[in-house]
Symmetry: C2
Subunit: 440 residues, 2 copies
């Protein structure tokens, strides 16, 4: 049988690399049937090739020299699973310049240098496939580019970081404080030893920049995303929010504003508890997209982990082999940065609803003073919750939800309230995201 033979090199033999090798070995026949090609793992390069891995690989496949992939003309596809944005960038460029199609899971690199890498790929008539860069096992990149291709996508709401969602879910379910849950998440492997990018919203921001670029057809970068993490979230806010009908999620939101501008934001957000995205538990991710034809669609699954991410990497390999990736890549024409950059609107001017929690002095007239400071800034109150204070305490917790206003207005009002000397500590302000209805 005169079958197409495709040789694959993997650069970076970490968790995901092991998963990809495992799939290429275990699912060889199925993949052969689906692609009509014989996929052969030709080389695996890593600086460390001695530490035992979770998959058995013939020793002759292993190398520490990246040129064993780059300079091997018989290798068609380079799977680059190197983290960071410096060495990883050099390696990807080297592979592209050697005429290899590249599969990557590196969202930080794409969100920072995507335009440059895409242009190197085009110059060399190859493609970059990056399904694994966003939301791991969820085939969201493919859905946007093929299944929803007839749609103008107008809004994106994403739970894009499993670590954060795991922590928030545990806090909500068990009433535990952030530091304790983070520690447990690290023990269970749901959080890295250095969890900074996961919990500060940065990782979610990388993914949002990539998804928004594809949905809106613009070259967005990580720098266009305003982001905030969950580090300061107190269990009190999760509990007060729940009492008012909301769940707290770290949400990436990208919207085409009526004026034609775009907003890209990651922040802890309250969403109505009966929204389907509010139900996404533990380490799972979900992406809600609103298209002008299709209305609301949502995609749910694991956002990280060895096998889910390897599943996405392998799907990309299959799509490259079948020629689909190249065709999609060639037709991917994003509006250049010069045109889209100024369109990223000031988040603090956007009209939104907010949740505000204040520790107020337990004395007459305090609520009136607060309400009038908000009223002076044109902020109307939609809901309020005041927990009865234990008799010995001088401060009470007051929670207010507002109608639509801007964060700038809120900040200004909170400054005035602070100056009145009627509150203790920092007021907490969390946005409420109203997922628009889709009544069909």
């Amino acid at each position: 049988m005169n079958e197409k033979r495709i040789r694959i090199g993997i650069a970076g033999f970490g968790t995901v690399g092991c998963g990809v090798a495992k799939i290429l070995f275990d699912q060889k026949e199925t993949i052969q049937q689906k692609t009509g090609a014989n996929l052969e793992l030709a080389k695996i390069v890593d600086l460390d090739i001695t530490t035992p891995r979770s998959v058995d690989v013939p020793e002759e496949l292993l190398s520490t020299d990246i040129d064993d992939i780059a300079c091997d003309e018989s290798i068609d596809i380079a799977v680059v699973l190197v983290g960071g944005t410096t060495a990883a960038k050099d390696i990807q460029i080297k592979m592209l310049q050697s005429g290899k199609n590249v599969v990557t899971a590196n969202k930080a690199l794409l969100a920072k240098h995507g335009a440059e890498l895409f242009s190197v790929a085009r110059e060399n008539n190859v493609c970059i496939a990056f399904e694994a860069s966003c939301a791991g096992g969820i085939p969201i990149i493919s859905a946007i580019r093929t299944g929803l291709a007839a749609n103008d996508i107008e809004r994106i709401y994403g739970i894009l970081n499993g670590t954060s969602n795991y922590i928030l879910t545990c806090m909500e379910q068990n009433g535990d404080d952030f530091p304790d849950v983070l520690e447990r998440a690290q023990e269970l492997g749901y959080a890295e030893a250095d969890p900074t990018l996961d919990i500060n919203g940065g990782d979610c921001g990388h993914k949002l920049a990539i998804i928004a670029s594809l949905c809106f057809g613009c070259e967005f970068e990580f720098a266009d995303v305003t982001y905030e993490g969950i580090e300061k979230i107190a269990i009190t806010d999760i509990e007060c929010g729940r009492e008012m009908g909301y769940s707290l999620k770290l949400l990436g939101v990208a919207e085409k504003q009526p004026c034609g501008e775009y907003t890209l934001q990651v922040s802890p957000s309250f969403v109505a508890s009966d929204e389907i995205i509010a139900q996404v538990p533990g380490p799972f991710n979900a992406v809600s997209l609103f298209g002008n034809c299709v209305g609301h669609t949502m995609y749910y699954g694991r956002g990280a982990g060895m096998m889910p991410t390897a599943s996405a990497v392998t799907a990309d390999i299959i799509e490259i082999v079948s020629g689909n990736s190249k065709q999609l890549f060639d037709n991917l024409k994003l509006k250049p940065r010069e045109e889209t950059k100024p369109l990223v609107a000031d988040i603090k001017d956007q009209q939104k609803r907010f949740y505000i929690r204040i520790q107020a002095k337990d004395e007459p007239g305090v609520l009136a003073k607060m309400s009038s400071a908000l009223g002076e800034n044109g902020i109307s109150i939609r809901g309020a919750l005041q927990q009865e204070a234990p008799a010995q305490k001088n401060y009470v917790t007051v929670v207010i939800t507002t109608h639509k206003t801007s964060r700038n207005m809120i900040d200004d009002a909170l400054k005035k309230i602070d100056e009145m000397n009627i509150i203790a500590g920092e007021p907490v302000c969390i946005q409420i995201v109203e997922i628009p209805g889709d009544e069909g």
Copy 2:
């Protein structure tokens, strides 16, 4: 600019046909950018071309003669939006034999004659694209074939009929009875004048057969699906179920059994209220797939309606133009029917949990008699609920949930209970579907 020009014919100018025409007109430029081709709506054929439609179409595009598409060699793609399984089949075959790629939304036809149509397509070196046949706007077919291509999919759980889900949601939310809700659904356009196939599980069964064929790689037919509808669902059961922590959904379930057999079943099913699929509201659809690499993924969106379905049809047109559809179709090798038919296992033998509701005589010893009849058949009780009867009534409602057993065992026990003359009316038995955990 020497651009590829693709001419499209639409057979069947109903709601979805109008939606497709609208997208091809309105999104012409976007689609041109995404495909690098100029897509031209060349002809629309329908028996009725005089009734005003929701989209303006130049009169010269309209015809009542199917040969105006079939015999026009300049037309590349035939979008066949004709319902039923007789004329629709003839038209599809004619188009395929004329060398046209076919896009269809007709699930009944595919679930009945898919193998035959696929073979005609192969003989004529063209393809059939059918994203719109299952779950409307949700790109589930594409997800299975591309994004999840590296996975062995083992289980499918789908809410695949928007009408049924709308009715069940209304019953649950408002406590209304089935006939009243059905009437309202018809008034609102969520149910057809003849809603039989929607509410009896048949429509869901068609879609399940198609999705299961793709996931498991076998030529399943509608005849392989055991199905049951929601016509007999009483509001009492929805309420009792909710009290025990379950939501009632019309669920399509297809599973690869440990013995290697497959089960395909549509039935009203209780699922734990905190499962994400239990949250799917109103006319929305959702499909949960479990892959060996990716774990649990779920896809959510509108399963029907003019624009969501037209979005899927247009996505297929775009995929045909880009060559992806043909490639996927050529590599779609389903195990022939002779090999898969006997694998469809007897549903009533499968081990499952059940909900049983009985109107029992309010007298001493009744519960004991019932429990022992169940016990004799090896059925253990997991939960029970007995509502206190109003003093003047002689019967009480008793609800029991069981541990795993088979429907055959349940039926046998219920027969014995019936013979004891201690219950009134028919016992109600509804399966409880436990969506397996995905702990990663």
